[in-house]
Each structure stands twice: as structure tokens, then as C-alpha cells.
């Protein structure tokens, strides 16, 4: 007997709204349908009404976890448009925060993976240790989530000797703990039984479906913007791109923990080699007409911002492609032929950030397939009128 189970838009495994409609036979998934569009925020439209500096803070609010990734990606692009060369010290501090953010994002993901697999102890331990890096970020930038340390032409806050020592101390603790989690995550039998061989994505599929970030790396594709197209300070740092060849969720766990260890190395290198000098240079108010594509390796994969300037103090167009969007096609492949029990694990393994990836909504009529544009006030009127006109449905069947 085959039937369709709706995972989402509201479901305990999802913290954000997306609808996965799984056609299952018994416990085995035979078909997957991903439906987006529950969380349109109009970020790109708002960006056109704000000036360059205001847009840094808007870009930062695209995501609550990789907030610095979006802000940095935007700032990188604007600096290129304005032909600015930020001072080295400023860049080092900016990418130090980047790597700390990667650490916090991967620790968060490890906890989520543990929770999705029902391994709550793992969740509690990784999230406890995530507090260390959150405190470091708060000490450096003043905030725990939206760091707001970027500015066009550098950063807004300097590091002193005491802070440097504290970062090194925190990283040393985290390194020890991460090695322990690596042992735990890769050897605890009940956890490995859940993640090994689950959500397979071969190297060919990963390439043809344009998977990005740890999902691609776990399928043996060594694709990392920091290495392939080194921006700012990354060509001065010594690090390697972590990959795995198991092509499953276990591989994605291994890649992320290895990336953690690499990030600790990079943080130590940046702290020890922090150059002297200014932290920011003065930026002009307007940018020359032109367009730029800015690439950035976010914790979840490659983040792309396309910025078009028309010579005013506002962007003409800002297009954001969050890494989650790049991983949706691969997710459909990974879910097929899995078990119901594996859905949360496979879906969580791409580290989905759904509302980062939501860009536009097109209204298509269910009967005639015509596209239409509806004003917000009309939508509001319809929403208010609906409960008044339609009575309570008895035994309503959810339209699938």
C-alpha cells in the first residue's frame, strides 16, 4: 500500500517551513516532492531601497546561523565594486570571525544530527561546547548571533592581546572536545548504524546535481571556494579541503568534524600571524556602475551574491544564492529508496537553512495554470474573508 506522508510545513524535525511530500510503501520512500515558498521575506527587494552600509546589516539578517557569511559575501562584492583594498589587519579579523562562525555552525549541526537520530546526549554535549565559541564571538564582536563586525573597507572592532589569548585558549579546549566527538560520532555503534550507508549520493550525482559544501565533499568532490578561488586571506593560510568517500550521512559527519579541526588550525594561524596596522579604510558613499559576483565558502557550502550598481548609493540589484538551494536537487536523490526513519537525518545532513534559500513566490492558479500578480492588500482581504465565508469542514482531507 502506498500513501503520501506530509513532512512539513510544520513538523518537529523541521525548524523552518518547507513541505516534503513523501510517497512511501510501508517504511520505504518511493517518491519525493519538495515544495518551497512558505517563507518569502522580500530581502532582495528591500535591498534596493537601502544604501550600501545599511545593506550590510540587511544581508546579515538573511540567516541566523551563517549571518557573517552573508554579510561578508556582500561586503566583499561591494569592496570590489568600489575598488577598495581593506587593510590586512581588518581582513584577518573579518576572516577570523568567519572561521569562528564555521566552528559554531558545525557544532550546532552535529548536535542537530544527534537529535534527529535520537542521540540526545550527543546533542547536549555539542551544544554545551558551542557556548565556548559563542562566548568568544561575543567577546570579539559584542554580539552572539548577528556580529555586525563588517563594514565596507574593513571591520569595526579591533582585537587586543587579552582577547587573542582567550581565543587561543578556547580553541585549544574545543579541539580536544571535537576530537572526542569525532571518536564518538564515528564509532558509537547505535549512531553509526543509523548514519552509515544512509542517503547515498555518488560522486557523479553530486557533480551533475550541483551539490555544494559538505554534501559534495562527503561524496569525494573537493570543492571549496577558499581553495579553488582563494579570497582575501585564504591564500596565506595553510589548510586542506576535507573530503570523505563514503557518500553517506556518516561521510557528512566526518567532513564536518574534520572541517572543525581545520578551522581551529586556521584560527590559530590567523591569531598568531595577525598583522599590525589599521582595521578599516574609508569607503566612498557611492559605487561606480558595474556588476560583481562574490563567492564565499559558508559553513553550508558556496554562497553567491550578485550585486549590480548604477552609480548611486544603493544597489540596483542584489541576488543571493544560499548554499541550501544548491543542495535541494541532491536531497531528492538522497531521500529516494530510504526509510521513513531516515528522512530527518538525510534532510538535516544538508544542514538546511530554508528561509535563507527562499527567494520568490509565483502564484499559479490551480485550475488554469496561469501566473498572476496579487497585491498584498488583496491577499490580506482574501485571508480575512476566508474563515467568514467557508464553514468548518468536517472530515476535511488535506489536499496533497
Amino acid at each position: 500500500m502506498s500513501f503520501v506522508i506530509p513532512i512539513g510545513p510544520q513538523h518537529p524535525a523541521l525548524k523552518e517551513p518547507i513541505s516534503l511530500r513523501m510517497t512511501v510503501e510501508g517504511e520505504v520512500i518511493t517518491g519525493v516532492d519538495i515544495r518551497l515558498g512558505y517563507n518569502h521575506r522580500g530581502v532582495e527587494k528591500v535591498a534596493e531601497d537601502k544604501n550600501w552600509t545599511q545593506n550590510i546589516y540587511l544581508a546579515e539578517r538573511i540567516c541566523g546561523i551563517c549571518s557573517h557569511s552573508h554579510a561578508t559575501c556582500f561586503v566583499q562584492g561591494v569592496e570590489r565594486l568600489m575598488e577598495l583594498a581593506p587593510p590586512k589587519r581588518g581582513l584577518y579579523i573579518r576572516y577570523l570571525v568567519s572561521e569562528l562562525e564555521r566552528v559554531h555552525s558545525h557544532l550546532l549541526w552535529l548536535g542537530v544530527a544527534g537529535h534527529e537520530a535520537g542521540f540526545d546526549s550527543f546533542f547536549m554535549y555539542t551544544w554545551r561546547d558551542r557556548e565556548i565559541v559563542m562566548d568568544l564571538l561575543e567577546m570579539i564582536t559584542g554580539n552572539r548571533v548577528h556580529y555586525a563586525i563588517n563594514t565596507i573597507g574593513g571591520v569595526r572592532r579591533d582585537l587586543d592581546e587579552g582577547q587573542k589569548a582567550k581565543v587561543l585558549e578556547g580553541v585549544a579546549t574545543l579541539r580536544k572536545r571535537s576530537e572526542y566527538y569525532f571518536r564518538l560520532g564515528a564509532t558509537e555503534p547505535s549512531f553509526v548504524a543509523r548514519i552509515a550507508g544512509v542517503g547515498m549520493l555518488s560522486k557523479e550525482q553530486a557533480l551533475s546535481l550541483c551539490a555544494t559544501g559538505p554534501v559534495a565533499k562527503a561524496s569525494g568532490v573537493a570543492r571549496d571556494v577558499r581553495k579553488e578561488d582563494p579570497y582575501a586571506v585564504y591564500d596565506e593560510l595553510d589548510f586542506k579541503v576535507c573530503t570523505a568517500d563514503t557518500c553517506d550521512v556518516l561521510g557528512r559527519v566526518v567532513v564536518r568534524v574534520n572541517e572543525l579541526l581545520e578551522s581551529y588550525n586556521m584560527i590559530e594561524q590567523m591569531i598568531k600571524g595577525l598583522p599590525d596596522g589599521d582595521i578599516a579604510c574609508k569607503a566612498p558613499r557611492k559605487a561606480k556602475p558595474g556588476e560583481v559576483v562574490s563567492r564565499y565558502e559558508a559553513p553550508r557550502g558556496e554562497n553567491i551574491h550578485y550585486i549590480k550598481a548604477n552609480g548611486t548609493d544603493k544597489p540596483e540589484r542584489l541576488k543571493v544564492r544560499a548554499p541550501t538551494l544548491g543542495n535541494y536537487p541532491a536531497t531528492v536523490e538522497m531521500l529516494r529508496n530510504g526509510f521513513i526513519a531516515d528522512i530527518p537525518l538525510i534532510f538535516a545532513a544538508i544542514d538546511p537553512c530554508i528561509c535563507c534559500a527562499e527567494r520568490t513566490v509565483t502564484l499559479i492558479g490551480a485550475r488554469n495554470g496561469e501566473e498572476s500578480v496579487v497585491r498584498m492588500s488583496d491577499l490580506r482581504r482574501q485571508a480575512l474573508a476566508r474563515p467568514r465565508n467557508a464553514g468548518v469542514k468536517r472530515n476535511a482531507v488535506w489536499p496533497l
Binding site: 524535525a13 542521540f119 546526549s121 547536549m124 558509537e188 547505535s190 526513519a341
Partner: protein
């Protein structure tokens, strides 16, 4: 007078009131151990050391809105929580804590009560299956099918493991089995593999991690309990708490030498031994992640069942050598 005594027996001690108080205490203990193992505090606020938290949860849940789905079989849906609670509370009466007198078998201690208690502990699983099935929700239905699938895995190993000490003691009465091992404590060591099997099977019966598959929240929302709310959910939760007490009491009676020493000392034995078993169960809960339902069945038949059969063979051989 006999009527009053019977009522006291059923309602106060060791009946509903005592089971309610002790099972909520055990839930507190379980939560506290689990939390400490995860570097958390657990309940701290309600009552001293948070001791009253499970009771507060229970009464709060009792006051919540109680929704019965339109499409559900309403009578069955409403009556199942009560049946489940009644069944496990009845099983609680059979523990040899309150009927330790060997010579005068009372109406709750009789030859064969070990079978009855195992039977009564199996019934809640069926109640749970019916609960999931009758609520007609998609997630409940999947949960219900998982309940039954798991039942086929752990039930046989549990029966084999619990019955082999009974074979060695040559009795089907819990009080006599306990008395046999109290006289020869060393023989308890012979049952260790069986104890291990029974512990894991009880964990599966109570649907705790790694076997919390029928209500795995990240996969199928509330599983069997998706549509249950308010009073009915509170009763189901109480059912599981009491089942935890009864199952650990059963394991203590069979594998840990029972509860010697009359009403007071025996009761202390009961508390210490059940808490020890609950501690082991909490440890198992904290150390593992949830496995898949097919993995449960294959684990049960490839590891637990052979181990239980070996235990049975060993017991039969040992019985031949004993004087």
C-alpha cells in the same frame, strides 16, 4: 472488614495511590539521572530537588484541552488509556513485595503469577497499537505498525530470559523464585546473560531510546500519541511510568533475589533494587541513539534471542548438576 481491606489494598497500598506516588518518583529519578548524564540539571524547581515535577506535569496535562479526532473510533479512542492504566496497575499488585508470605499464597500470589505478570505487561503494547490505529492519523498509523513490528522482536527474548531463572528455581510463583535465590545467592550469577537480555527487552517494551521508534518525534511527530492530548495523554504517560516500576520490580524479583525481610526491610529492598534497574535503563537511554525498526528486529533475533536460548540451555544443564 475484609471488604475495607481489599479496597485499601486496591486503592492505597500497593494499589493506585502508592503506584502513582512511587512511579512519579521513579520518573523523577529517571529524568534526573538522564539529565545529569547529559550535563544538565534536570527538574529542580517544583518541590525539593524538583521531586514534584512529574506530579505537576501530570496534573497540568489533566487540565489541558482534550480533543478527540472526528474520524477516530471515539469509544475505543477514549477507553484505551484507562484500560492501559488498569492493566499495568493490576500487574503491579502481583509483585512479591506486598505478598511475601510463602506458605499462605494470597489472591495476588499464586503458582503461575510470573506468567500472568508477563501477560499483563504485554497488553499495554496492544493497547498502544489500538490507540495509534484507532486515531486514524497517518503518523499514528505508522507508529502503531512500528509498535507491533517491535513487539515481534523483543517479546520472545524477554519471555525466554525471564522464565529461565524460574526453571532453575523450579517454580512459577514469583515469591518462591525470589526465596530460592535468597537461599542460594551465588546462583544469581548464572542468570547474568538473561538479566542483560531482559534489561534490553524491557527498554524496548517501555519504548525508551534506543527503542523509542513508535513515537520518534523527529520522524513521525508523536507517533502513536499524535492525536492524544489532555487527560488521555496524561493517563498514557502514567501508564508508562507504572509499567517502568512494574517491569523493573519484575526484573528485581527474578534476577536480583527479590525483596527479603518482611514488610519494611523488603520494601527497602524493593526501592533500592528497582532504582538500580531504572538507573541501568537510564544509562542505556543516555548512551545510545535511536535505531531503525528493521534494525530492532534483526538485533532481537540475531543477538537477543540466541543469547536467551543459550541462557535457557545453560539453566537446564545447571539444573541437572544441582543437588
Amino acid at each position: 472488614m475484609a471488604v475495607v481491606r481489599t479496597f485499601l489494598y486496591l486503592l492505597i497500598y500497593p494499589g493506585l495511590l502508592f503506584l502513582f506516588a512511587y512511579s512519579t518518583f521513579c520518573e523523577w529519578f529517571d529524568r534526573k539521572v538522564y539529565a545529569r548524564l547529559q550535563n544538565r540539571m534536570g527538574p529542580t524547581h517544583t518541590g525539593r530537588f524538583g521531586l514534584l515535577q512529574p506530579i505537576a506535569d501530570f496534573f497540568k496535562l489533566m487540565a489541558k484541552e482534550d480533543v478527540v479526532p472526528e474520524a477516530a473510533d471515539k469509544k475505543l479512542f477514549s477507553v484505551l488509556p484507562v484500560i492501559g492504566l488498569a492493566v499495568v496497575a493490576t500487574a503491579g499488585l502481583l509483585l512479591p513485595v506486598w505478598n511475601f508470605d510463602l506458605l499462605v499464597p494470597g489472591w495476588t500470589s499464586f503458582p503461575g503469577d510470573i506468567i500472568v505478570i508477563l501477560y499483563l505487561l504485554s497488553l499495554p503494547t496492544l493497547v498502544l497499537f489500538l490507540a495509534g490505529w484507532s486515531s486514524t492519523n497517518l503518523f499514528s498509523t505508522i507508529g502503531a505498525s512500528r509498535v507491533l513490528t517491535m513487539l515481534f522482536g523483543y517479546e520472545v527474548p524477554l519471555f525466554l530470559a525471564v522464565l529461565s531463572p524460574a526453571i532453575l528455581a523450579d517454580s512459577w510463583r514469583l515469591a518462591e523464585i525470589a526465596a530460592f535465590y535468597q537461599a542460594r545467592p551465588l546462583l544469581l550469577l548464572a542468570n547474568l546473560p538473561g538479566f542483560l537480555v531482559a534489561l534490553i527487552a524491557v527498554q524496548a517494551k517501555l519504548e525508551r531510546t534506543p527503542f523509542d521508534i513508535p513515537h520518534a518525534e523527529t520522524e513521525i511527530v508523536g507517533g502513536t500519541f499524535t492525536e492524544y492530548s489532555g487527560k488521555k495523554l496524561a493517563l498514557f504517560r502514567l501508564t508508562f511510568d507504572i509499567e517502568l516500576v512494574v517491569a523493573s520490580g519484575l526484573l528485581a524479583a527474578v534476577f536480583l533475589g527479590g525483596f527479603p525481610g518482611g514488610a519494611i526491610v523488603g520494601f527497602v529492598h524493593f526501592v533500592v533494587k528497582t532504582l538500580f534497574i531504572i538507573f541501568l535503563l537510564s544509562l542505556l537511554r543516555a548512551l545510545t541513539s535511536r535505531i531503525r525498526v528493521d534494525q530492532v528486529v534483526s538485533f532481537a533475533w540475531k543477538v537477543l534471542a540466541p543469547l536467551a536460548v543459550l541462557q535457557l540451555l545453560f539453566t537446564i544443564l545447571l539444573k541437572g548438576f544441582l543437588p
